[in-house]
Symmetry: D2
Subunit: 206 residues, 4 copies
């Protein structure tokens, strides 16, 4: 096969990339500086060698020691509160916000809409096992389901809540993020749930 | 002037309507059912006769008695908490959400970005006067600034807070809506402030 | 019913207007200058009295005499070439371009996709009758189908061509607009048909 | 530096890719199948070895022999007509349309808006030299400027026309693509130039 077409086919598998942009990428790579392209292929190879998933929280990390990422390994990490997130990019948002002091768990996606068995697609069993284990071994007292406020996120939330019900009965707190006004949200385009929670969680100026 | 063009010019002043759509409106009105067009002009005239602004909260209402809307007149309305909103459409969102039990105040817009004197554009003085008056006469204890989470909304919030400072010193609570995940918001596209507040105001399942 | 809601319902029937914008229109009309609103209702009434469809070309016009618009009445109008267009707004584009010297025919829409009988929706029979009549009475020699280059436009083109076939056999030329690069079109996003015609109809600089 | 960040930085240089999508690409590459990633890096390396620009038409090609692409080398290629295009992706559109029988010239971009010297950015001198040479050696009789119908395209067209003026005086025809309705174009949103040319270049049905 034609090498430009072959590269186009490969770039088409990148997330969110269609036929046209894949061809642009192929042309770009064909005509970019030699040093840039070498850096790119080297970085890809290095990534594959050095980056792996943590065996505890399933986050991608390049500092995996004994199977675990540095946050999970660190004895100073607060293990009483666990934040469940959809994917690595979400984890990065929370890490940047410096607002969560505990550990993470990467679900690996949201529950698919049509399929009955979400267990095959996302790490539900692994989450239950981890929460059960750390309730006794690490003082875990709360699991926060920090998923997007979308239909997919809410369906996943319901499934996880159901899964964690037995642990909840043993004292585990299961919570979800608060609704309110996101940055950029206009009142006129907000729904009842958003406004209700925004009003209830209002903050007084000092 | 050409009557189609004249109608187009008039429709161009409707909010959010450009030249093309204004002409479409003119063609639409020219060719719509006679009964529809009669209903339209009659409704516009009735609106002008019956709908006015409340002298207390400045909301548009068709049930103005002694200058006031029915909510402001109702002796059972909770006058301890006042919700300050930008415009009538925002008021309607809160009314529909049935989450606010107190009174409203329609600011009439947001503070303009470049102009120094926002007082000429929005009802800042009127808000201050109302709050001062109702602190003594109606037991007002809290003013909630319920503006959009946009740069314009935040600038207006800062101006209002400044204006209400003297009343705040006399015991008035001034608050703003809580930030959090709005319906539809994805974690990956949320900023630090949204995530931080969403995490702090999380809700535990029972 | 609530007068604001009633006006909102009426504005929702304007082309391209949804619930939110209809309510904005109602608020706008409620709070606009008295003189503006009077001009608006007067213009709507005047429009209804003065603007009608031409009995020959079906264009909306405020200068209808003996049932016909001024262009159709004018003895100097070139009646050898007839431009068939979808709607009044399209006619206005051609009039502004000052490129067509002949007469017009407003089809009143495009053929619906699912319905077998387009005749009930657009003026196909009327077009055939007019073309047949003017071939003998007015020297009509060409009908140009000037429809949008969309699937709906092309389907309608095919139906009209079929309808006009019998007149074509008697010598009527039936043509369609040339394809090529529209203003704003990028080569990279153009299809085969556009490029082929653009290349064939290329223009040499002098 | 962090390897994920490094890869993100490299992907940010891909055309049309911002920070977020670059990070998604990095995560994608980190977690994709081993075989896919190997194919990708191998294809990139192969591309760099095998694909070069033709010394005559400047198109990227993987079949460069004696510095020239197969089209330029083929003795059967029609050398009387030369199509000047902005970039490789545009060339591909014309090749797919199978409408041009002659040769190509890849300009390498459009003339920048602010800079006086377009010569440093696009292959203007090279185009003039090629046209001059092939007028005598290869029977070149026409140069078609096949640029996008955008302000940038039109500015570039004017510059090229000026450059080719001296050859035009020696008999070279310089032409541009015809305007008309592009696939998808609606009459209502078309400008005067598009409609005028579409009407002039209309096609009669047989």
């Amino acid at each position: 096969m034609d090498i430009l077409k072959r590269l186009q086919e490969l770039f088409k598998r990148f997330p969110g990339i269609g036929e046209r942009q894949a061809m642009r990428f192929a042309y770009f790579v064909a005509t970019a500086d030699e040093s840039y392209v070498r850096s790119l292929t080297e970085a890809i190879s290095a990534m594959r060698k050095e980056v792996r998933r943590c065996a505890r929280c399933y986050a991608l990390s390049e500092k995996i020691v004994d199977g675990k990422c540095s946050l999970c390994l660190n004895p100073d990490t607060d293990t009483s509160i666990l934040l469940v997130i959809e994917k690595d990019a979400d984890r990065e948002r929370f890490v940047k916000a410096r607002t969560h002091t505990g550990t993470y768990f990467v679900l690996g996606g949201l529950a698919p809409a049509i399929e009955k068995d979400a267990h095959a697609h996302i790490r539900i069993k692994e989450l239950h096992a981890l929460a059960e284990r750390e309730m006794s071994s690490a003082g875990l007292s709360e699991v926060v389901l920090a998923l997007s406020a979308t239909p997919d996120g809410e369906r996943t939330e319901a499934i996880l809540l159901n899964t964690l019900r037995s642990l909840q009965e043993k004292g585990l707190v299961v919570s979800v993020l608060g609704k309110g006004l996101s940055t950029g949200t206009e009142i006129e385009y907000s729904d009842k749930e958003t406004l209700t929670h925004a009003l209830r969680s209002r903050i007084a100026f000092e």
